[in-house]
Amino acid sequence: MHHLCALDDVVPGEGLRVTTTSPPVAVFRTDDDEVYVVDDTCTHQDASLADGYLEGCWVECPLHESRFDLRTGAVDQPPAKRGVRTHAAQVVDGQVWAELSTDAPNLPPGVAGSTAVASGVTA
């Protein structure tokens, strides 16, 4: 498990980019206080999904309006064609943790990334 942030660091209805993983992930906290963790980078072009728009358990990329289902990573419409990688999230004692996926990330052209943990606490 990888520690990402405190739950209070994430405003309900918004996302937070966390860069202690590689590639960075986005922690989303819905208005219903569900927490989801996905790769932060849109699969179409280098844009931060944490800067996008959270509606229910979907996030819309801030650049080109592709939307991703935070539960499955599936994309709803072009220009993104591939889903975003999801990570299993857990909130323990007000802290957000995630089991980082070992699948290959679906990063856009020109964005480097590995599944290795860049820094931070693991448990």
């Binding site: 960075p24 280098d46 800067d51």
Partner: protein, 414 residues
């Protein structure tokens, strides 16, 4: 057009007001004279002069940009031309009005090319997708996360000053020149107070509470100063405004309402309302006083607003100077909310709609007549005959103060 002639009898007797003669006129042997000079012709055609007016006047002063009701929701927007700049006005999610230069901070593309609309999420440059929220902050851009040194506020849309009053949003681009905007009270409010005697008479109309019953946009092939000068005088009224002169018989004397402080032109005895045929308009606005009822007041608010006050509505002109020889004029007819609902709503009453038509038609004709006259003058502004300008008759002499103001702003001397 009146021109001075060397042969003019120098001993000609003239009445009020006192004669004034310019050096230029004296040089031509014309003295004394009832006639004052206008600005030289080049100030109506010269691109460099117009650019100076933009820089010194429109891009500094409070410029009436939009009606607040034009921005009903978060993300509603309008784009307007202020001097040489395109300005983007919107409303934030907190309900506040913001104005920005309509220029992407990245490579300078126009953010919004439409005159008006509503954005769901943000303003996004159509070139490289730099994306700004309604506060102007840069919220996303391709590769932005790998440029952590790019400050999202510093590289947000460039804000200009806004001030809301009487239901309109004024902007000032003075901050772009590193200056504070001028005092709103000493400029916009002062122009209204000077003409009306004080701001107190405005209360009767409660302009901020009124709704737009009709808006007509005129694209006028004339310099903005011709339009101001035309609005300030009524020497032309009896000639080109037959309908208006029927409603306001005193306009036939050529002395505009703007000639006197606090004077409103009285409706003719047979006239029921300020309509194209003198038929009844609507009930007087709730605050109407006996002094103001059945009267028409007109105010020029520099640099680009005309306000017309009648008992049942307000006609509000905003000019957008587009070039030396082109001015877009947006004219709003403002009525009590109940009148607009009854005359234009989903369940509009045909009789109320007809009254609104008759009400709008009067000043729409006045506008069309005035702008045609201005367009008739514009081509001659570059004539050699008009190099030194034309002349103002006594009932137009108050326009000289406007000319002095323009010269002072552009040349720094009066």
């Amino acid at each position: 057009m009146t021109t001075l002639d060397e042969g003019l009898d120098p001993g000609l007797e003239h009445g009020e007001p006192p004669v004034t003669t310019t050096d230029e006129q004296r040089a031509r042997g014309v003295t004394p004279s009832s006639l004052l000079p206008t600005l030289p012709g080049r100030t109506y055609v010269d691109p460099a002069w117009f650019a100076a007016e933009c820089e010194e006047i429109f891009e500094r002063d409070w410029f009436c940009a939009v009606r607040e009701d034009d921005l009903p929701n978060a993300g509603s927007f309008r784009t307007v031309t202020v001097g040489r700049e395109s300005v983007l006005l919107t409303r934030t999610r907190r309900g506040e009005v913001r104005a920005f230069l309509n220029v992407c901070r990245h490579r300078g593309a126009r953010i919004c090319t439409e005159d008006a609309g509503e954005k769901r999420r943000n303003f996004q440059c159509p070139y490289h997708a730099w994306t700004y929220d309604f506060e102007g902050k840069l919220v996303a851009a391709p590769n932005l996360t790998s440029m952590p040194d790019v400050d999202r506020v510093e590289f947000g849309l460039k804000r200009v000053a806004v001030h809301s009053w009487l239901g309109y949003v004024w902007v000032s681009l003075a901050p772009l020149a590193g200056e504070e905007p001028p005092s709103f009270a000493d400029t916009v409010e002062a122009d209204l107070a000077e003409r009306l005697g004080s701001l107190e008479p405005l209360a009767a109309y409660d302009v901020g509470s009124l709704k737009v019953g009709r808006r007509i946009t005129y694209d006028v092939a004339a310099n903005w100063k011709l339009i101001v000068e035309n609005f300030m005088e009524c020497y032309h009224c009896a000639t080109i405004h037959p309908e208006l002169t029927e409603v306001l018989p005193e306009f036939a004397d050529g002395l505009a309402a703007q000639y006197y402080v606090g004077h409103g032109a009285e409706f003719g005895e047979e006239v029921a309302g300020f309509t194209v045929d003198g038929t009844p308009g609507f009930d007087p606005l709730p605050g109407m006083t006996d002094d103001q009822d059945r009267r028409y007041y007109a105010v020029t608010v520099r640099p680009q607003v005309f306000v017309n006050l009648v008992p049942d509505h307000v006609i509000w002109h905003r000019m957008y100077p587009m070039g030396p020889d082109r001015t877009v004029v947006e004219c709003d007819w403002l009525y009590a909310p109940g009148v607009v609902e009854a005359a234009t709503g989903d369940d509009a009453d045909p009789a109320m709609a007809a009254r609104l038509d008759a009400s709008v038609e009067l000043f729409h004709r006045v506008n069309a007549q005035d702008f045609e006259a201005c367009e008739r003058c514009q081509p001659a502004m570059g004539s050699r005959l008009y190099a030194d300008g034309g002349v103002l008759v006594p009932s137009e002499h108050h326009i000289e103060a406007f000319h002095a103001w323009v010269r002072d702003r552009v040349e720094g001397q009066s």
